[in-house]
Symmetry: C2
């Protein structure tokens, strides 16, 4: 086992170097270094793939798999996770990886151009090529009901599209109903104008610190699209973006990424530099960011704590009553853009994408018809038609990058967040009161104890069972939460 851990530890070290190349690309790299950086990332990816598929690593794993470790031991968990990763890596021909890399690079440029002229037809042929390659990719893996399930499994191990459908079933009707009611709540917009960048960043840092983000093992940088990454688990970085007219956007971005970061910073040290030093799944990771962003960061208690500071820092808000501010932050409405959607409509945007992805991979929908299909689904789930392709089918970067099967995990994360939140509320009756006092420690420690420290040791289902006794992901707690918050009953 020691040998296996060391071999895979080296792979993780190299992955950390790759993560730094990517992080630097987003945060610091001079603009003229793009092609050189791509070559560097390709070279390192090649080395990592070679290490992942080396006979040495495979033999070390086989040896450990045969050893009589107890079923629920650390060692068995390592073997299971590694087996999954190594098999995936081994089954992907280098040629396909290369083709996908080139196709997505080309699609990314096409996507930028298409967005500029708000014309999906520029992207369509690229997307067609990528989907064909992804079909090939999916076909490499056996044991799945359909091609799309093989893709989904990559982000959400063991999850099928049928299972996702079952979980999502109540969302469309019930969320729509809630949104219709919530949209009636009056909400005046906040005063416009320029909110100090320094103040936005100072508040973000203050809140991150209060949440328990460890700056000794992380830092906050600026990017256009905020994200969380780690250069090894001793170095979990988040980024945020400042919009001068929307201070809450910077704050809730930070809170969101900080939720991701607390997960990784909270993983027990004995899992560091092992295959268990990771989140359980994409949905579980997202549950942590959404819990902090929505259940904490959009709550009344949170703003009772922070709003006085906001008013002190931003003169524009001096005469805006707390209630008005709170309503503005929680304004609900059907809208075009997923990333700007409120918590009550967000999942509906995911339903649009989930249905389209399934249809694209079952062959029911041709890529060139995607724009019309998109607009149709938007009408179906949100009752609106995007003003143009930039506000519609071209808004997300995921498909040009080949990330099919990723979107559902966002909504699943929302659902898990509410399941965990229910458990937290039951265990800690003073939860709301603590948040209102800016005391996030009990919540953070609860999450660390129940979720973070375990890393990828347990499956999604095992963890859910341990936290809240649920057999699987359920939409019920989420819908209850929305209803309680947004309907007058």
């Amino acid at each position: 086992m020691k040998n296996l851990l060391e071999l895979y530890g080296t792979v993780l070290d190299l992955q950390a170097a790759l993560a730094l190349l990517e992080f630097d690309q987003q945060t610091a790299m001079p603009s003229g270094a793009e092609t050189g950086r791509s070559a560097q990332m390709a070279a390192l990816s090649g080395v990592i793939h070679r290490e992942m598929t080396s006979g040495k690593l495979r033999r070390a794993l086989e040896k450990c798999e045969k050893a009589p470790y107890p079923e629920d031991s650390f060692e068995k968990a390592v073997c299971r996770q590694l087996r999954r990763k190594l098999d995936r890596a081994a089954q992907i021909p280098g040629k396909l990886v290369k083709n996908l890399t080139m196709a997505t690079a080309s699609a990314h440029s096409a996507w930028l151009k298409a967005r500029e002229s708000a014309d999906y037809s520029i992207l369509a042929p690229e997307l067609e090529r990528i989907i064909a390659l992804k079909q090939q990719y999916a076909a490499l893996f056996s044991g799945f009901e359909c091609a799309y399930d093989a893709l989904l499994d990559e982000y959400e191990p063991g999850m099928s599209s049928a299972e996702v459908e079952r979980i999502f079933a109540p969302l469309a009707a019930e969320q729509t109903q809630i949104v219709r009611e919530a949209a009636q709540i009056p909400a005046e917009p906040l005063p416009g104008g320029s909110y100090s960048k320094a103040a936005q960043l100072a508040i973000s840092s203050k809140v991150a610190k209060a949440m328990g983000y460890d700056f000794k093992h992380g830092r906050i940088d600026l990017t256009e699209h905020p994200f969380t990454t780690n250069i090894g688990l001793q170095d979990v970085r988040i980024t945020t973006a400042v919009h001068r007219d929307l201070p809450v956007s910077c704050l809730l971005s930070t809170v969101h990424e900080c939720g991701h970061a607390l997960y990784e910073q909270g993983i027990a040290p004995q899992y560091h530099r092992t295959v268990l030093g990771d989140g359980v799944s994409y949905a579980f990771h997202e549950s942590q960011s959404r819990l902090w962003e929505n259940l904490v960061g959009r709550s009344r208690a949170f703003w009772e704590w922070l709003y006085p500071e906001y008013q002190k820092r931003f003169k524009q808000l001096a005469s805006v009553p707390a209630e008005q501010f709170f309503r503005a932050v929680n304004r609900v409405q059907f809208s075009e853009i997923r990333t700007e959607a409120d918590e009550a409509t967000y999942n509906l945007h995911i339903l649009v994408r989930f249905e389209l992805e399934k249809e694209l991979f079952s062959g029911k929908l041709a890529p060139r018809e995607l724009r019309d299909a998109w607009n149709g689904k938007m009408e179906k789930f949100l009752g609106i038609t995007p003003r143009n392709d930039r506000y519609g089918v071209l808004q997300d970067i995921h498909w040009p990058l080949g990330d099919f099967g990723y979107f559902p995990t966002y909504a699943l994360g929302n659902l898990i967040a509410s399941q965990i939140w229910e458990a937290a509320e039951t265990l800690m009756p003073e939860l709301e009161q603590n948040i209102g006092a800016g005391n996030f420690k009990p919540l953070r420690e609860f999450l660390r104890e129940k979720v973070h420290r375990h890393g990828a040791r347990y499956t999604r289902e095992q963890l859910l069972k341990q936290i809240c006794g649920a057999e699987s992901i359920s939409a019920r707690p989420f819908l209850n939460y929305l209803r309680k918050k947004y309907t007058v009953a």
Copy 2:
């Protein structure tokens, strides 16, 4: 050749990733990530060493070496440089690399502790171990007169200590004489107090831009000890340090690093991602930084251009006449610390180290006697005795890191800088006038044409010959320059 270029291009890509790990460690990494970062750097170094010693690369090189490329062709130059690097890499046993890495890591900690208590004896046993390992290392290479020459050759290809001695011969007596005279020039210290950090950085950026530093392919960050690095030649970064009471220090640091950076940014694109995409040698690299720092940055013309801006930005200087300021910047005196030495005494600090290094590796001097030997040489060359070890033998990081043979290149760089400067003055009578007007373009283009664009295509001697007709490095132009600037004649 194409295959060879691609194979080595990949090695360079991986080296760029390693450079980024190091750069980030100095500029951004959170403090708690130290051990993880070391593991990442070790893993990537291991991969690079494996690639450098792979049969594939060696065979590709052998094939090209047999091909009938003309002696002065690009291809032959590539083969020569690669042969040198591959042979070096192949001859170093992994075990020795590992031992050296561990010994220098341990010595680095000991050095920090020793500095704290200003007590060399804490470092002595560590240095003894490192020197023993470096002796083993030197013994791997044949064809050298002595062990020290094998080390020197790593920084300054083809340079022997006998040759360095010959070049350095006039320095001790003549520089000392010049310094004695120059120290008589009256120089009042500049007003103390806090010089704005923002203004220091703004001026640094302005000067870097004026010198022609390309921010599209670079950036300036803050570190404690300024340096230049590249993450591939599309991305040449410099760092600087701000001392609130010494604004000139930040500026001349930037100018110095910018000199290095212009070299790398100026290398012809066809040499990028090849073994020729590098400086000729450490001394040649240093000649570029020193030329800008001293011959430009400490010149009267330069300050005629910049001082009005300085006075505008720093109120402390409003009533300080230009002449007084210029004398303060060019104050000459025997002092303890190399990195703070003026241009007239600097080489004397190198003579101290060069003689000690030779004695350490010839066995004439035992590491435990190094403190006394240091103080003796300081007395001999500078006529002073350091107040304690921190201001003496413990001041530099090079020896704890195992970098023996590096120091002479600093002084050689000073000498080359003056050789190039003489040629520039001859070719461009209006050089001084241009600098006085803040027009650095003619000088930069001269350097790019004569030095930068060639990368490592030619040897040090070939390049010197092309630039100024000299057969080798000579101290004469440097001594002439000092004498002209600092003695009343």
